[in-house]
Structures are given as structure tokens and as C-alpha cells.
Symmetry: C2
């Protein structure tokens, strides 16, 4: 089964297909950038995005919005994670947190997949708790991976991307979507 | 002459009226928060905002969008200045710039007033160049004023708000609007 996934980010497609193949789903990238509002809820941005893309392609489609919420920064960068990464980079985040003690360096990655077929609009949320490292470590993955240490691990996602396949926010949201979609597709047939 | 000014920020009204009184214009606050896009151009946000508010009130109206562009931070926080102030505060900005040398601490405040009467859409831009201080100084004004030293001065806008009346970004954008509006109003009569 092919599922259209609108994103400008090839990494997301690759990660999604790691999960999709378990469920017999192949995600196919299409690129319809959608206007993002300043909403601070990932669900809202994903829902508005998937409706926008659906109107363009008139086919069932998913989008995914994700980011990192850092507790010591009042939730920053949250839904502005891509923008903050572009402007400030991981070095900027580390500078912002230079005075933050180890025990307060908590945060989480969030991923929300939104699906729309013209009638049914559904969202699937995945999160992974962790800590922000004190320096960039490793170069695997993308975005905040080199400064994100998932709970229960010693290495950042940048040093060791293996756990992402099992415990990442995107793994969880995509898997939740896949489970839904397998049933949905049976219902459609 | 009264001019409707849609903003949630009373400080902006007070500042605008300092300028407006010179031109016989009184700015009256109305509060119609408009959805801001993630556009990185102040002009676009102001234009979209004033069109939105006009549709709500069906009367000629202005909005103002402003922020600070910091060169060493790739233009951050720019059109996200209010959000960054809320999440990170001036301490956050100072942390981001902790390693930035004096000569590279340049930035500017920008203000864009947008006017719409249902037909004519006009924008008025004001800027003030300056530097980002190394610590918060003074408590006058609001936003980034305690860390912004206008070019040619030694004190921040937070320490000495007097220069704002003459050289601030908002002074300039509002004055440009006032000059336009006096003529516009003569034409309408």
C-alpha cells in the first residue's frame, strides 16, 4: 500500500519507511509546503497542513509536524523547532541552556502525523522523553538529534541512531498511523 | 482625527500618540488579534493583519508589526520577537550572544505600520540601528528595550527612553503614516 506523505524533508520519509515496511506500507514523498500558523500545538499545525495539502492533491495524504519541547526554556522551541534550528542551531540551544543544571535539562521530542481523506481527519501522536546534552555529540540523524539523549540511554540520537527505530517520537506516531491505516484500508476494500 | 489602531499592546498606543499629537491624530486602541503567519517579513505580516482586521471592523484601520533583527543570530528573533521575548526573555537573548564580541553585536529594531481602508493598502517602515548590550540595563519601555543601545547613544532604551520619542523605529513608522494620513484625509474631504 502506498501512502502519500507531504514533506520537504527526505529524512522523514526514510524514517517513516523503516516503520512502514513492517506494516506493508510504503510512504511516497510529495512536496506541497503548507502555510504553518504560529499555533503552539503540533496537532493544530498538522491538521491545518493536511487539509491544505488534501485540497491541492485531492487524494488521501498525511503530513507530520514535529519538534522538541525543552522544559527549562518554557517549551521553546516547540512548534518553532525548524525555525530555531535554522536560525540558532544546536549551538544556540546549548547557549540558552548554559546555566541549566543536569537535572533540569529535561525535554521531549513530539511528532504528530495527521491523515485526511476528505472526510476522516485523524492525528497520531508519538513522544520520546529525554535530556538535552551539554555539548553536541555525534552527527547521525538531523535537527536536534546531536543534543538529545533519550531517557534510559547514555548516547545522543546523533551518536547512536539505532534506538530511533524503536523508541523515537516519529517511530511511534508513524506506527500508530500504520496500525490505523491497515484497518482503515480493510474497511475500504 | 481619530485612527483605529488594532493591537493588544497598550504601550504601542501610548508611543504612537506621542507622535500622533504633533499631527492632530489620536490613535484609538481596538483589539482584534489577527493570525500571524510564519513569514519572516514584517511587511507581509502587517499587510495580512490589517486586511484581517478591516474585514472584522469594516472601517479604516492600522496595525503595526515590529521586532528586532540581531545580525549575529542570523536575524533572530525577527518577526518572532514577541514569541521569543515571551519564551526566552532578554536573558535568553543575552545567553545566545554570550560569546559575541562587541563589534558584532549589531542589530536593528524594525516597525511596520500597515493601513487599509478597503481599497488603499499602504505600509510605512521605520528602523533604528543599534547594538545589543551585554546585560539588561534599565526598566523603561518594554520588550527588548533594556538590551538595545541605539546607535550614537551610550544608554539602552530601558535606561533612557527619551530618545525613543525622536529616533525609535515606531516613531519613524508612525510619523510616516501620519504624514500620509494628513494628506489622505485632505483628499477625502
Amino acid at each position: 500500500m502506498k501512502v502519500l506523505f507531504s514533506t520537504t524533508n527526505k529524512h522523514k520519509i526514510a524514517e517513516a519507511n523503516e516503520t512502514g515496511k513492517i506494516y506493508g506500507i510504503e510512504f511516497e514523498q510529495i512536496n506541497f509546503p503548507y502555510p504553518e500558523t504560529r499555533d503552539e500545538k503540533f496537532e493544530n499545525i498538522a491538521c491545518e497542513g493536511v487539509r491544505y495539502v488534501y485540497e491541492k492533491v485531492n487524494k488521501q495524504v498525511i503530513v507530520e509536524d514535529s519538534g522538541i519541547i525543552i522544559d527549562a526554556l518554557n517549551g521553546f522551541p516547540g512548534t518553532f523547532s525548524a525555525y530555531a534550528q535554522k536560525k540558532l542551531g544546536n549551538k544556540g540551544i546549548l547557549n540558552l541552556m548554559r546555566d541549566v543544571e543536569e537535572r533540569n535539562r529535561t525535554g521531549k521530542y513530539i511528532s504528530v502525523v495527521a491523515f485526511f481523506d476528505g472526510k476522516i481527519l485523524k492525528t497520531f501522536v508519538g513522544t520520546v522523553d529525554g535530556k538535552i546534552s551539554t555539548r553536541e555529540r555525534g552527527s547521525s540523524g538531523f535537527g536536534y538529534d546531536p543534543i538529545f539523549i533519550p531517557l534510559g540511554y547514555a548516547q545522543t540520537f546523533g551518536e547512536n541512531p539505532e534506538p530511533k527505530k524503536e523508541i523515537s517520537h516519529r517511530r511511534k506516531s508513524v506506527e500508530a498511523f500504520c496500525k490505523f491505516y491497515v484497518k482503515y484500508n480493510e474497511g475500504v476494500k
